[in-house]
């Protein structure tokens, strides 16, 4: 296997006195798509938020290429190349599509490079180019998800953390988003994909972890997990 890009070791996070993560460990190798599955409230979003330092870890470490980045300021983590696309897309509703993308490249000082990256995002998502002057809040759910991913790509990330990109989207749109994620991954970006929709996630991912009330209860190759009885029962339909 290749190099480890992202490594969580016994990571703990709590809200008030309640632990949302009870010491989870997980590795993401270079070029992989790893999916983190689990039902509502399992701690998936908290895992991503802890990696991007939106909430502080109270134990354990997050390492990026072997460097300890636990609780580093969020903007430093972004500058290193770890970018988090939050649950619910969180588009800046009153900024237009172009301004949303520009916000994604906030840490970049070079305007020429910024324009180049915008062009690259527009190639990936032509619909965003058509709507570049439209307010983000007026886009459809699928378009907003594309904008959220495009905005994240503006930082030219090494690792993309995606929190439930399929949420609330029609199956056909979900498939489009998954194809895009695959394309981005083929371009060399490592991906940690959080999903409740285990079916599409396992189809796309190389490996998977299953989270349950703040603990990893299972891990393995995606094709193995998708045949596992307990996963089939819990997450892959009835």
């Amino acid at each position: 296997m290749s190099e480890i890009v992202l490594s969580l070791k016994n990571l703990e996070t709590k809200y008030g006195q309640i632990y949302a993560l009870k010491g989870i460990s997980l590795d993401v190798y270079k070029g992989e798509i790893v999916t983190l599955l689990g039902s509502n409230g399992a701690g998936k979003s908290t895992t991503l938020k802890t990696i991007s330092s939106l909430v502080p870890a109270c134990g354990g470490t997050v390492e990026f290429y072997g460097k300890n980045i636990t609780n580093a300021p969020p903007h430093e983590i972004v500058e290193m190349g770890v970018i988090h696309v939050p649950e619910g897309r969180r588009i800046f509703k009153e900024l237009n599509v172009l301004e949303n993308l520009e916000m994604g490249s906030f840490t970049l000082k070079d305007d020429v490079e910024r324009r180049k990256r915008i062009e690259r995002v527009f190639e990936l998502f032509p619909v965003l180019a058509e709507r570049s002057k439209q307010a983000g809040g007026l886009l459809s759910g699928g378009e907003q998800q594309m904008l959220a991913i495009g905005r994240a790509l503006m930082t030219d990330p090494k690792v993309l953390l995606l929190d439930e990109p399929s949420m609330g989207l029609a199956p056909i749109i979900v498939q489009g988003i998954m194809d895009i994620i695959k394309t981005i991954n083929d371009g060399g970006t490592t991906i940690l994909l959080v999903e409740q929709n285990a079916k599409v996630a396992l189809k796309l991912a190389d490996r998977g972890y299953v989270l349950e009330t703040g603990e990893i209860v299972m891990e393995g190759n995606a094709d193995v997990l998708s045949k596992d009885d307990s996963i089939v029962k819990a997450y892959l339909g009835h």
């Binding site: 991007s52 939106l54 300021p73 969020p74 903007h75 972004v78 500058e79 970018i83 988090h84 696309v85 939050p86 969180r90 800046f92 509703k93 009153e94 900024l95 301004e99 520009e102 916000m103 994604g104 906030f106 840490t107 905005r151 930082t155």
Partner: protein
């Protein structure tokens, strides 16, 4: 005076008054937009700005800068920087530690900061009025029997120009866009790599500097300063910000100009004296809020307090 002349005179007066309100309202609105705080101390930094520029102007009087426009402009710019930094310090010491605290704690802290500022100035000035002496004359231009001084014209143009510069800053620069983005979703901005503390500090700097410029202009225009001068304009500017839609930058400018014009025309209503002008203007504003509770440029959701 003919009806037309009265009209022109009130438009001129209203625009000047309104642009002061607008400049102060911008700070209220920007800070509310970004940290959801009604910054009561904002009216007092306006007052501090007036005194700061007066002090500088007095120093400049006998230098090559003089106390005419050159001296006034230089002292205003330096004042904007100094008082802008005061705004940053206030945020850092008084508000930043409370960013996760209930909004009420923040509100009370803002009241405290306000008291500290005006009481300090009261002690320093002995609570007296201070004359704002400039070397400006009383020349002007006449349109019929309407007389407008050069000072009035220059101050109005300067205030509107500052608002336009702010507007360009907010809409065209990355820092300006980040300010707007933070007011929509702070956590998401952190995920974009925005150093939010820096942008919040910048917002306080800009908002406070604009208030300080208005304080300077008010000194030049009215010719005197007082430690409590921020009180009334604070209420007016806050009202202007609400009328325009608090948190919305062009709204603050619009609200300020509208309130200035209403007040100015309020002095001309037949049969009731000009002391009723506030009643007139506030009645209209209440009516506006009844029909548009989030302000003229406000959005539909009513999550604002």
């Amino acid at each position: 005076m003919s009806f037309q002349e009265i009209f022109i005179q009130q438009v001129v007066n209203g625009l000047l008054l309104g642009s002061f309100y607008g400049l102060v309202a911008l700070g209220y609105s920007m800070v509310y937009g970004i940290v959801k705080l009604l910054n009561f101390a904002h009216a007092d930094v306006y007052m501090v700005g007036g005194f700061c520029s007066l002090t500088l102007l007095t120093l400049f009087k006998d230098t090559f800068l003089g106390n005419s426009w050159t001296g006034i402009v230089v002292s205003m710019l330096i004042t904007m920087v100094i008082v802008g930094l005061l705004g940053v310090v206030i945020e850092r010491i008084a508000y930043k530690p409370l960013r996760e605290a209930p909004r009420l704690s923040l509100l009370i802290t803002a009241l405290g900061v306000s008291m500290i500022l005006y009481n300090s100035v009261m002690v320093v000035t002995g609570g007296e009025y201070r004359a704002y002496k400039t070397g400006l004359g009383f020349q002007g231009i006449s349109i019929g029997s309407v007389f407008v001084t050069h000072t009035q014209i220059i101050l109005t143009v300067a205030a509107v120009a500052l608002m336009l510069v702010l507007h360009l800053f907010i809409t065209k620069t990355m820092y300006g866009k980040a300010m707007r983005a933070i007011s929509m979703d702070l956590d998401c901005c952190r995920l974009m790599g925005v150093n939010c503390n820096k942008i919040i500090a910048l917002t306080f700097f800009v908002g406070t500097a604009l208030a300080a410029s208005a304080g300077t202009m008010a000194g030049v225009y009215y010719g005197s300063l007082h430690f409590f001068m921020g009180f009334v304009i604070g209420i007016k500017a806050f009202t202007a910000a609400v009328i325009g839609g608090i948190g919305i930058i062009p709204g603050a400018m619009l609200g300020g100009l509208l309130l200035g014009l209403l007040e100015s025309f309020g002095t001309q209503i037949p049969f009731i004296g000009s002391e009723w002008k506030d009643v007139f203007s506030f009645s209209i504003l209440i009516i506006i809020l009844i029909f548009k509770p989030t302000g003229l440029l406000g959005k539909k959701e009513s999550e604002r307090m």
